[in-house]
Subunit: 205 residues, 2 copies
């Protein structure tokens, strides 16, 4: 599908995030790989090399026009249009995600929330109404949802993942602390605070 290393793709959203901050919070119009690298703790050579996979975005001496580079990175990452997202799990974390203001300015909007607990169904979560898990597959398929976030108990996570995949979801962000099986044509990304913390304690006395 692409011969660009996934680790390069993984850095593009970080560049995009910092470029938008430079423009919006500091009113900058241009920047350089040196400035960007210094702000991100990444070498300027790495940034230039990463971006060179996708074309020529800067000029020797004048650097990058921020708005232009933002637009190009958004195109590369397929963010020209907003991605509607289904959230499965309306516990504490589900509530935090449903109320998170950081999705929409960066290309995503949670539009559906599902929970397995019958007592939660019909309750409001922000502007949304919690739907039952039995509506998950049909809703996903009918609305052509491609992206989902799961924040459910370990015991039901694989089953819900399977349902999402059957409904046509192609990318899943999982907050469940287990490895999940998905077909090769489905992206999955994990967020587990404990693995991140254990990686750090290795370096502590």
């Amino acid at each position: 599908m692409s011969d660009i290393p996934d680790i390069v793709i993984g850095r593009l959203p970080v560049y995009l995030r910092e470029l938008k901050r430079l423009a919006q919070e500091e009113g900058k119009v241009t920047t350089s790989s040196h400035e960007l690298g210094k702000r991100l703790g990444i070498s300027s050579a790495q940034i230039r090399k990463d971006l060179s996979h996708f074309g020529e975005f800067g000029k020797q001496g004048t650097g990058y026009h921020i708005n232009y580079l933002v637009e190009k990175l958004q195109e590369i990452l397929h963010l020209a249009h907003e991605w509607p997202v289904a959230l499965v799990g309306a516990g504490y974390l589900g509530h935090a995600l449903a109320n998170y203001a950081g999705f929409q300015p960066r290309g995503f909007r949670i539009k559906w929330v599902f929970d397995i607990n019958p007592e939660k169904i019909g309750a409001a979560i922000g502007d949304l109404t919690i739907q039952g898990i039995n509506e998950l597959r049909t809703t996903i398929a009918r609305e052509n949802v491609k992206m989902a976030i799961i924040a459910v108990p370990v015991s039901v996570a694989q089953e819900i993942t399977d349902t999402l995949v059957e409904g046509g979801v192609k990318a899943i962000l999982s907050y469940v602390p287990i490895h999940l099986e998905v077909p090769d044509n489905v992206q999955i990304s994990y967020s587990d605070p404990v693995t991140q913390m254990q990686r750090m304690t290795y370096y502590l006395e």
Copy 2:
């Protein structure tokens, strides 16, 4: 400090997590790099190579004794004792983190919660009482806290990070979607759902 690649260190918590599942949920006593790899979508050769940095844990033919390998991985990752953790930020995400049952069985316990909002100070969050941010530095230093989680607004994140570092914190898990500056002897790890989702949309049409 260590000549073992950080990417190898990053996989050890994932091995540990899966080994504990194998023992606790499936009652297994031994496993192999093949079985572990299949369950994690990682090659068995990779697992053997990663573990070989730290010694000989398995035997040809019989594989790994799970409890022994769990114990060794916990030693390597410095998880023999529980790490007390300070949480800064008692918003939706802070509440989700403070109520998360997954920390304690895996070596961490949130013991202090701080917030900048005077109206939240003194309120309960699980078993804890929210403290004011003005107590952050002294509490961290007095209690010898080495690890913190921050879930605060972007605008105050660097200042709070600086306070944590001044108080003696050596590892920070940040849910704030910006790069934060820390000294070389302080670990920092980031969790930003949007960068993870944007990495996936690259691969979608």
